[in-house]
Symmetry: C2
């Protein structure tokens, strides 16, 4: 039996840098229906195959005219034009607008031959066969040329772009039904620890329900990955080796509960033997016993077993890897400055993540212990205390990183 | 034919207030596996059915002791205790820790009878049959009592809570396999306009591809709803009535392209006849021809046909309705203050939403025309100009509401 303490703890920034340096973005791609591409990352540049719009069109409801016919028209000196018909959207008017004539036209409709501008309906009055024009227009007024939105041959979207609604709209405008995107990285989750019981069975003495595979899967799925729950790893070298072998068929393996000291050193030993450990032990609290390494081509995270430690470190250490692997932009954390509703002091040799809830604009600690999931459940966000002694008075402003937006 | 201009335009704030006042949150519920409850809204209070953890447990790796045995122990004056065995997680040690004894214990393991504290492994040294204790502990040190996380009978979660990873963790801790959540509102989408062609078919002269059903569906799905595309509504009273009848079987109906002036007044007439129009025409640009009303028990949005107008107004007007209906918190828009990279001036009798991209920390306009989807495609966010004349110089700070976070 060996139960040895951690040696050197890795400062957070350094740990994240190592994680990002070792993480490679996925390279495989797949083709999905465009509606399903929201939140995915384009694997190809998208060029306009034709002009959008494909024709000159009216940009206002009104009357298509020869602009020179309207010169000088005003409320007091209106001009009358003969109405020769209507051009609604979707159709093509076969005739031509000649001098002294106008054509009713709706927003988005193709401009008829002969016309070079549109008079807005607001500045007209309809008589039986004529339209009274009360404001003159310059050539090109209230119309848009073909290709105004996208010009044929232009690069509209770059590979690497994350699809948001406005990007999806461009794909739709170009007539795409499907689009090539990067695959989502496949992430294997292993729970470990003989105390872990699956939901749906009664707890034996000394057992608790599995929490980490759920919180890990949700962080994975919210950050571009697909989570595969691979069950519970036992504390034997045989089970550990089997799990590591299974993990190495995924893009990333995440183990929870197998990285603390004690007999659990087996896990570290197995990784050291089969691959490499980049760090084991981080200088943040909760979550010291976090391991990052590699087996074969697959990166391995060993997360703490304690549920708040595991979830906290999923946000701090796992999430940046997931987003880089998925080719998503780094997470844009929302931070707000609020006063503490109640002061406190704290001392530690690691950076501390203290979860807080915000009530009536003030932050109150909800952190209990790293073993208590409710430290996260009731949290609106967290504050970070530096290494050493911190004293916060009631009313002192703190920066809260929000977890629920 | 009637082609009449809009009468009174509704200011944005007033329009949003009307929308929120008329929108009712869904009341039906459904039961889903807990992993699928992420982003959903709890329909029930959740009480702890048992203490979590169900037993006193060690919160550090080390040795369970009678604290009084360690009194005064230090590096220089260590105390020796007899090691009587090991209590790892998941098992139950059947014996008792007596005076002069200690038990190896791992984080999370049930405390053995007789022990009332844990000495961290860092402050010990293992000899063959004894453990050298180099630091004394107070009663309760490095252990956590049963129920520390959740006490049996306590209300852990309130109905109405949105499930984020920390909330999911609490459900898992309590052994839930499934949970009751509010249903997602079912939203029907109708495109309209004879110029709209589905993707996958060649465009006829005067036609463009359907964009709005895609962008609308994505905004709906990103804000708690389920989108049902109901096809293209024709500009005839018969088709409009049929579509409204179909819409009234959903929680909300969203029509795009049928709310501009012109023959499209038919749509407003049909709603007025069968239900009520709360407003038609908003004082924002793009997107003036937006309609909000009701047919039967179903609220109806008539969105502008122009793709940027439609998408912009999906964010401004539709989204608040979706989130209230889904019982999600109002959207937490992220806003950043950045200098304009290039000045401009503008004048308008409506509030203007100007899309911008942010390059090297500066905002540049990407808004072209409301008919051009690329006004949104390349946007990182938008700025809002008030009604009237605005002049922004290069370097002036603007507040950008981000669309892509």
């Amino acid at each position: 039996m060996s139960m040895k303490p951690f040696k050197e703890l890795m400062p957070r920034e350094e740990a994240v840098n190592i994680i990002l340096e070792k993480t490679k973005p996925v390279t495989n791609t797949e083709i999905v229906p465009i509606q399903s591409s929201i939140g995915r990352v384009l694997a190809v540049d998208v060029m306009a195959g034709f002009d959008v719009p494909p024709f000159d069109r009216a940009s206002m409801d009104g009357y298509a005219v020869k602009s020179e016919d309207t010169k000088g028209a005003s409320e007091t000196v209106p001009i009358k034009l003969k109405l020769i018909g209507a051009q609604h959207t979707g159709g093509i008017f076969e005739g031509t607008v000649d001098h002294g004539e106008c054509l009713e036209i709706a927003t988005g409709s193709p401009m008829p031959d002969g016309a070079d501008a549109v008079v807005m309906v607001e500045y007209t009055e309809l008589e039986t066969e004529n339209v009274v024009i009360k404001r003159g227009v310059e050539p090109g007024k209230n119309m848009a040329p073909a290709g105004e939105d996208m010009i044929k041959g232009a690069k509209v979207l770059e590979a690497g772009t994350t699809v948001i609604p406005g990007v999806l709209g461009a794909l739709a405008a170009l007539g795409y039904t499907e689009i090539e995107v990067y695959v989502k990285p496949r992430i294997a989750i292993f729970s470990s620890g003989p105390e872990i019981a699956p939901q749906g069975t009664p707890l034996n003495p000394g057992q608790i329900y599995d929490i980490n595979s759920f919180t890990l899967a949700s962080v994975i799925e919210m950050n571009g990955g697909v989570a595969y729950k691979r069950g519970i790893m036992e504390d034997t070298m045989e089970s550990i080796n089997e799990s590591l072998k299974s993990a190495s068929t995924f893009d990333l393996g995440v183990f929870s509960g197998g990285s603390s000291v004690g007999v659990k050193d087996l896990f570290g030993e197995a990784i050291e033997k089969q691959g490499e450990i980049y760090f084991h032990g981080v200088k943040t609290k909760p979550g010291k016993p976090t391991l990052f390494g590699k087996v074969g081509e697959t990166l391995i995270f060993g997360m703490p077993g304690y549920p708040t430690s595991c979830l906290n470190n999923s946000y701090v250490y796992l999430l940046p890897a997931l987003r880089k692997m998925s080719r998503l932009e780094p997470k844009h954390w929302v931070r707000v400055n609020v006063p503490m509703g109640e002061g406190f002091e704290s001392k530690g040799d690691r950076e501390q993540f203290i979860t807080v809830e915000i009530r009536e604009g003030k932050a109150y600690r909800v952190f209990k212990q790293s073993g208590d999931i409710t430290s996260m459940t009731h949290a609106d966000g967290f504050i970070i205390l530096p290494i050493g002694y911190s004293k916060l008075e009631t009313g002192d402003t703190v920066e809260v990183t929000l977890l629920n937006v």
